[in-house]
Subunit: 145 residues, 2 copies
DNA sequence: GCCTTTTGGTTGACTTTGTCAACCAATTTC
DNA sequence: GAAATTGGTTGACAAAGTCAACCAAAAGGC
C-alpha cells in the first residue's frame, strides 16, 4: 500500500482537485484561473464583501487579492462600489455577467467534487471537511478585531 | 459556523500546511522551497529512484521534476549516477549533506504535522489520510506500465 | 483638535509552482 | 531495422504567492 504522509496527501489532493476543476472549467469554455473562481465564490457568499474580507476569508495576501479583484473587474465579472462607511474601502458586487458565470462555475465545481468523492460516503466527506477545518483553525492567526 | 466547501478546505489546508512547514524550515536555517523538500523525501524513500519515479510519485510534470532535481544537485544534496539498465536514465542518490538536511527536515515536518493535528485524535488523522487517498486515486490517470 | 498609529488597498519586484511544446538519445515494438 | 515510445532536458510562459514600500482614511490618545 502506498502510505503517503499527511503533507504528501495534502499536496496531491490539492493538485488533483485543481486539475479536475480546471479541466471542467475548460470544458465549459471558461478561461479563468482557479483562484479567480474562489474569489468570485467568496464575493457571492459574503454580504458587503470588501477586498479585506476576501483576503481574510481566503487566507491570502492582500496584494494578491487586489490583483485578482482587478482582473475580475476588468473582465466585467464584478464591480467596485463605494463603501459609505469607509472612504478607503469598496464593496465588491457581482455583475450580471458575473452571476451567469458563477452559475456555470457552481455546476462545474459540483461535478469536480462529485468525481473526487464518488468512492466515498457523505459521512466520510463530512468527516474530511470537519477534520480539515480543525487543522486549518489550529494554525490560523486570529484576525485583529 | 464557517461552513467551507470541499474545495475551499483543500486550498486553505494546503496553504496552512505549506506556511507551517516553511516557517519551521526557516527557523532551522534551511532555505529550500517546499517542493524541493518533497523531492528529497521521495528520493529518501524510494530505492533506485529516478526522475521518472519522482514525477510519478509526486504527480508532477517531468519538466518541473527535472528543474527541482537540478537545483538539488547543484546545491550538493543529491547526485545523479548512471542507471546501468537504461542509458537514458540516472539514479538519484542522497549525498552526506543531503542526508543531514533530511534529518532536520523530518524533524521540522513532524513538528508541523503535530501542530496541525494537535486538536485531533490519531484515528481522525488516519481517517483523513485514508479519505484523501481515496479522492486522489479516484482521479489519478494510471501510469503506463 | 491635532498628532501618531493603524488600517485598507495599491503597485513593484520577485520567488515558487505548474504547464505545454519541442527536442534528443535510448529503448521498445513490430 | 525502421517506427514508435520513453526518459529526461530546455525554453517559454502562466498562476499563485510573498515582501516591501507607499498613500489616504480611520482610529486612538492626550
Amino acid at each position: 500500500m502506498n502510505n503517503m504522509s499527511l503533507s504528501e496527501v495534502v499536496h496531491q489532493l490539492m493538485h488533483s482537485y485543481k486539475k479536475q476543476l480546471h479541466d471542467g472549467i475548460e470544458n465549459e469554455g471558461i478561461l479563468l484561473p482557479v483562484n479567480h473562481i474562489r474569489t468570485l465564490k467568496c464575493i457571492e457568499r459574503v454580504p458587503e464583501c470588501t477586498a479585506r474580507t476576501v483576503a481574510q476569508r481566503m487566507n491570502q495576501d492582500k496584494a494578491q487579492t487586489t490583483r485578482v479583484l482587478n482582473d475580475l473587474t476588468q473582465s466585467g465579472f464584478i464591480q467596485k462600489t463605494e463603501n459609505p462607511n469607509d472612504g478607503r474601502s469598496q464593496f465588491l458586487v457581482l455583475t450580471k455577467t458575473g452571476k451567469q458565470l458563477l452559475t456555470k462555475i457552481n455546476r462545474v465545481e459540483k461535478q469536480a467534487a462529485a468525481q473526487l468523492t464518488k468512492d466515498l460516503s457523505p459521512k466520510e466527506v463530512e468527516a474530511f471537511v470537519r477534520i480539515a477545518t480543525v487543522m486549518i483553525e489550529s494554525v490560523r492567526v486570529p484576525a485583529a478585531s
